[in-house]
């Protein structure tokens, strides 16, 4: 469960002035239980691609298959973690985590109280169960948001710059938290980020994308041993991978600015 096949996908947005090609003939395969990160300069279509997998949007051409089935809208098999944490401000932390399981669509997916309890323990939010999102720190909010998605037990986690709004320290703690969860539950993860270190540190495969139009420039196998450790970031192979990805992304970003200058 959680195998994703993207074949010849293009996505164009019509605006009043022009047609923007956000994705142009993108092909990508994500294996079951694999962590794939999408990285690239802004405007490279990485979030668009994630939205297509999530089913919030439909491709202009090509196909997005999840477990062999064409995506027809969002569903609880693909849990989405948003950058702007999707917690209901009027619900407490525990009610937010239990929200998904209280829906008709998820009847019989497990005892809600038990799952919520387990998630609260797992995320270290047990002491804050009665709090509302506004009373939590950014890191706690994102942990609660991840817990609320994990509670419905999706086979795939789609994460759109999930740690982008956090400070550097909290972000690295959250990365390790995500990896721990993954070691336990082994879900397919597709994660969009603009942080190259994050993209490599988490991934089995890092997909480097380029903009105008959005294309897959290179798919890099990250052969660092698991479980990943923070210290790996200063090892030779990690640095080599990072420099390589940085080169592609930077060249692309520079091309973007010179193009803008030429206009």
């Amino acid at each position: 469960m959680g195998r994703i096949n993207i074949s010849a996908v293009s996505k164009r947005f019509e605006t009043a002035q022009a047609t923007v090609t956000a994705l142009d003939n993108v092909n990508l395969a994500v294996e079951e239980k694999e962590i794939v990160t999408l990285v690239g300069a802004s405007g490279c279509g990485k979030s668009t691609l994630l939205n297509l997998i999530a089913g919030f949007d439909t491709p202009t051409a090509g196909q997005v298959l999840v477990d062999g089935m064409a995506v027809r809208g969002p569903g609880p098999d693909r849990g989405v973690v948003f950058q702007q944490t999707a917690l209901f401000p009027w619900l407490t932390v525990e009610d937010n985590i239990g929200f998904g399981l209280s829906l008709q669509a998820n009847r019989g997916k497990g005892d809600r109280r038990q799952v919520v309890e387990r998630m609260l323990q797992r995320t270290g939010l047990a002491a804050f169960r009665e709090r509302r999102p506004a009373e939590l720190s950014g890191g706690m909010r994102q942990r609660a948001a991840i817990a609320s998605v994990l509670a419905i037990n999706p086979s795939t986690l789609l994460m759109d710059e999930p740690f982008g709004a956090l400070d550097a320290l909290t972000r690295s703690i959250m990365q390790d938290f995500l990896l721990e969860i993954w070691e336990e539950q082994r879900k397919t993860v597709v994660l969009v980020t603009h942080d190259i270190d994050e993209a490599i540190y988490l991934a089995d495969k890092t997909v480097v994308m380029t903009a105008h139009p959005g294309r897959v420039s290179e798919v890099i196998e990250v052969n660092l041993p698991r479980p990943r450790k923070y210290e790996m970031r200063s090892t030779e192979p990690f640095i080599a991978l990072r420099d390589h990805v940085t080169d592609i992304v930077r060249a692309e970003a520079l091309k973007g600015t010179t193009m803008a200058d030429a206009h």
């Binding site: 999530a54 919030f56 809208g73 969002p74 569903g75 609880p76 693909r78 849990g79 989405v80 948003f82 702007q84 944490t85 999707a86 209901f88 401000p89 009027w90 619900l91 929200f99 998904g100 829906l103 008709q104 669509a105 998820n106 509302r132 506004a134 009373e135 998605v149 419905i152």
Partner: protein, 289 residues
């Protein structure tokens, strides 16, 4: 020894705490009281000084005297109006709540429909925006023609006035819902009903209740208009009738009664709002101390 020590120290500490607490409460009471008391004093002085005739601009003491008789009927200071207050107040309050009830219910419903559907916005919104700009008082002649003299036009006018703020604020509330919350609920598998009841309504509630509060204010304005023109009971009728009989003390007592009832109605709405929106006060300014 230990018990003795305890009994000697604790009361003295309590005493200090109680004193400073009492002082604080006294300070607060002063902050609340200073302005209304000042207004009353100035008003009384103006009345006593004789700038204008006492029955043209009666001072607070005269108003209170006549108000007391209006309510109780004991002194006959209000003559033909003596003891009628409760009937008038009830008539007005009843009209306000019935009119407010249908206006707000329909307003929230229409607001939701427009907020949720661009098609319905194109169908309904232009008409509403035009009708909204017709002062509700301009509906008086037609409503008299259609409903005659009595509760009919009053309840129609009040409901009409209450409808617009409820509808417009509900639409606004639905439109400003955080799209991420909506997407998250859909992703988790929420059906249309769950989306409406568990995401859209609660998220739009602060805005809806702002509209409801405005509606309540307008309802009290319109009940007076309606009672002056179309009904023979209620505080608005009392006010107008007393004006015709040159009883300005009764007029002012009726005005203040309307003000107080309006105030308490607003408090009820605020109370309900605060009960429903415990979550909403975390990230707002709220004012300095």
């Amino acid at each position: 020894m230990v018990t003795v020590e305890r009994t000697t120290t604790v009361p003295s500490q309590l005493g200090t705490a109680a004193r400073s607490g009492r002082q604080r409460r006294l300070g607060l009471a002063l902050q609340y009281a200073i302005f209304p008391v000042a207004v009353l004093v100035v008003w009384q002085i103006c009345g006593e000084a004789g700038f204008v005739r006492r029955n043209v601009f009666p001072p607070p003491t005269d108003v209170v005297t006549v108000w007391y008789d209006l309510v109780t009927g004991f002194t006959d200071a209000a003559t033909r109006y003596s003891g009628t207050w409760a009937d008038h107040a009830w008539a007005s309050t009843w009209r306000v709540f019935v009119g407010f009830g249908w206006g707000v219910t329909l307003g929230i419903f229409v607001g939701l429909v427009i907020g949720l559907s661009r098609v319905m916005e194109r169908v309904l919104d232009p008409t509403i925006q035009v009708l909204r700009n017709i002062p509700v008082t301009a509906w008086v002649p037609l409503s008299l023609v259609f409903f005659g003299i009595g509760n009919g036009p009053a309840i129609f006018l009040i409901g009409l006035g209450a409808f617009f703020p409820a509808a417009i604020n509900t639409t606004h509330g639905v439109r400003q819902i955080n799209i991420t919350l909506y997407k998250a609920a859909r992703m988790m598998g929420a059906n249309e009903r769950e989306l409406l009841l568990r995401v859209i309504l609660p998220a739009a509630l602060p805005s809806i209740l702002t509209g409801v509060r405005l509606s309540m204010g307008i309802a009290w304005v319109l009940v007076v208009v309606a009672e002056i023109l179309a009904v023979r009971s209620g505080l608005g009728y009392l006010l107008n009738d007393a004006y015709l009989f040159y009883r300005n003390d009764v007029v002012i007592a009726a005005m203040l009664s309307i003000g107080l009832l309006g105030f308490f109605s607003d408090r009820i709405v605020v109370l309900v709002r605060d009960m429903l929106l415990v979550w909403n006060d975390r990230e707002t300014f709220g004012g300095e101390n």
